[in-house]
Symmetry: C2
Subunit: 231 residues, 2 copies
Amino acid sequence: MHQIDVKAGLLEPNDAIARENREFLAARGIYAVDIMSAPGSGKTSLLEWMLPVLAERYRVAVVEGDIVGNADKERLDGFGVPVFQINTGAACHLDARMVHPALHQVAEAGAEVLLIENVGNLVCPAEFDLGEDDVVMLLSVTEGHDKPKKYPLMFRRAGLVTVNKVDLLDRTNFDLAAATAAVRDVHPGVALLTTSCRTGEGIDDVIAWIEWRIAAKRAALQHAPIGAGSA
Amino acid sequence: MHQIDVKAGLLEPNDAIARENREFLAARGIYAVDIMSAPGSGKTSLLEWMLPVLAERYRVAVVEGDIVGNADKERLDGFGVPVFQINTGAACHLDARMVHPALHQVAEAGAEVLLIENVGNLVCPAEFDLGEDDVVMLLSVTEGHDKPKKYPLMFRRAGLVTVNKVDLLDRTNFDLAAATAAVRDVHPGVALLTTSCRTGEGIDDVIAWIEWRIAAKRAALQHAPIGAGSA
């Protein structure tokens, strides 16, 4: 109970700041997606595949969340888009307060699409709304098909779940049908895709989903097409 | 800073209870190892390999930590050793307070070796001493060799790090030499092994390490050999 009380105390101000962040992004027509997963599920690799495509179509920025270091930022720095590093230090997740200053930098950089890579953690990031429009989460086949039932919150937060590393399906006992059923059981409405960041399989589908969501936000805001000003 | 203050407030009472747990275990000659990793790195599979061997040599008990459900307990229930389930609910890790009642059950069951499977999380469990004698952690090759530098705390807590799923080395870009260097960089004194819970490779080495630690505790306690009373 002690822990639950403390967390409730932490979540309330987070939600207030997340609302501010959401208004800040909406006022500028910026679409933001928060990418979450366990460590090593392929978040940075997914970004490496998507950035060249998305950066041709939109002004893109990235926010990198890591406890320490900037190894992922270094992987992404060569893609010609601004990458802003947040080190969370003692915290095992991004929260709305940490992200807030970065949103100002993202807006100053003129970005219209923001890709946020959260800290690799299948639990805590799901508890903290950042003000993003969507959550995309990765479940890699090497983690096992039992994960949706063991870590339901993140699967419920996600608008899109992609089952990643499907190139390793033949070398694991991952049951794609069981995983699909488990994901749908904890979150009936979720979009579900399969990807491999080794072969590139399915990456186009993830990009298409994100572009659909960008267009949906644009329509909802009755804003000028946010891709219109792209270089 | 807010978060750091809150965590400091949480950690102090945890450490006091962890001390109590450690004294409780020492008074009964029970050796306890806390097994940690990211989700899906192979903790339960490692237990499935080790339990038949360890249960022949010691009276063994297991404590299973999960946010919700008892899927792992169900996997282990057939091994003829008592398995005690802890559901952490809102918490993303075990702490000393949660484990305390289970230690009484473990002692009542007459166990002399306790294997604790922590919640799958590469971050938070490392912050909470349970009163265990040792931490064993798994890093699976599919997670990537960059993890020790990105999540240093757990690698520092571990007495033994095993690089798991080495049967998949040929299908990943995991660099074992780089991983070894990174682990040694964040924790110079750590024991480092390689395992596959698919093929069984290296499991004997993990068991040997744990048996060495059991013997070391026995010697330190100047206690009757804790394997002596085994059925």
